[in-house]
Symmetry: C2
Subunit: 158 residues, 2 copies
DNA sequence: GTCTATATGAGAATGAATATCACTTTCGAT
DNA sequence: ATCGAAAGTGATATTCATTCTCATATAGAC
């Protein structure tokens, strides 16, 4: 789902605009990212998927590509302590104001759209002098599936 | 600032309550944590400071202690992708509803108290079926000091 | 096509965090 | 107070994600 070609073309334009060279390796990575929107793949996941499309690509190149794409805003990196980071293509639609719901049962990551933080950021800047350039809001807990799977246990909790 | 002895005593009680053994090593780590509230030290920082109080302690013990203390809620671990995690004693006062302002200039971490998320959590649980057990809200940007130091550059940004 | 800065692949290196294992200590039961 | 099983410790090896190194290859401006 989603227009893979369109997203890749858009990303390639952004690369040129930012003086990043467009190489076959980077295109392959972009295609993988565009085909996996919402999946939040790890660098390893992306590496393995890119291998099928561009055999011989090195893991280091995947990391370098993701890093370069992140620096110019084409991808977002979601840093999860241990267990490595996850990456996602910043789609045209969708905007940047989504936060993550991270299931501590199965590890699945889903998204939640919300703009509420704008107001809070202004309040923080005024009261602390801290100039905010980015934020990260995550919720940890159990997704519907994992709750289902755990049925039979205690349902209420004080 | 802050009552180190009181915080350590409180933490030790919590340890007993949670079947964690109270060892000299753990007490030393707790003292270091209580003396560094607000400093957000890394495991290495804590290790070095604890060494002065309890020479011979191993780095692994510091990690194990921090991990054990986190599991029972005595300390909070702030995971920062690379550059390792930071730790903080959960003080009696202060509560758990503070978020972090992380300066990408100097790395300093400060706090911001806010309760706004309660309402949002309920909304998410109702609309997605995701049962939230914890959350993490961080703001990245430049602290007042770093902004000061950078004076003279561009002030506005589209 | 030429040229030069940039990208790539392979594998070594890094660094935070964890595992291993023999030894020691805590703390409840006696 | 002492005993003993369970838990904790120190030293160090190990893991694993990520980055670095360096020789080679290629993109893209001219």
């Amino acid at each position: 789902m989603g227009d893979v070609k369109r997203e890749v073309a858009r990303a390639i334009n952004l690369m040129s605009d930012n003086d990043l060279r467009v190489t076959p390796e980077r295109e392959a990575v972009l295609e993988v990212l565009a085909e996996n929107i919402g999946a939040h793949p790890s660098a390893e996941d992306i590496y393995l998927a890119t291998m099928e499309r561009h055999p011989g690509i090195g893991l280091a190149t995947v990391y370098r590509t993701l890093d370069a794409l992140e620096r110019v805003g084409i991808v977002s990196k979601l840093e999860l302590g241990a267990s490595g980071s996850r990456y996602e293509l910043n789609t045209d639609v969708g905007g940047h104001f989504h936060h993550h719901l991270i299931c501590i049962g199965c590890g699945r990551i889903t998204e939640f759209n919300q703009d509420l933080l704008e107001h809070l950021e202004k309040e923080i800047e005024d009261s602390t002098g801290f100039q905010i350039t980015d934020h990260s809001l995550r919720f940890y807990g159990y997704c519907a599936k994992c709750r289902e799977a755990a049925k039979g246990g205690e349902t209420s909790r004080s």
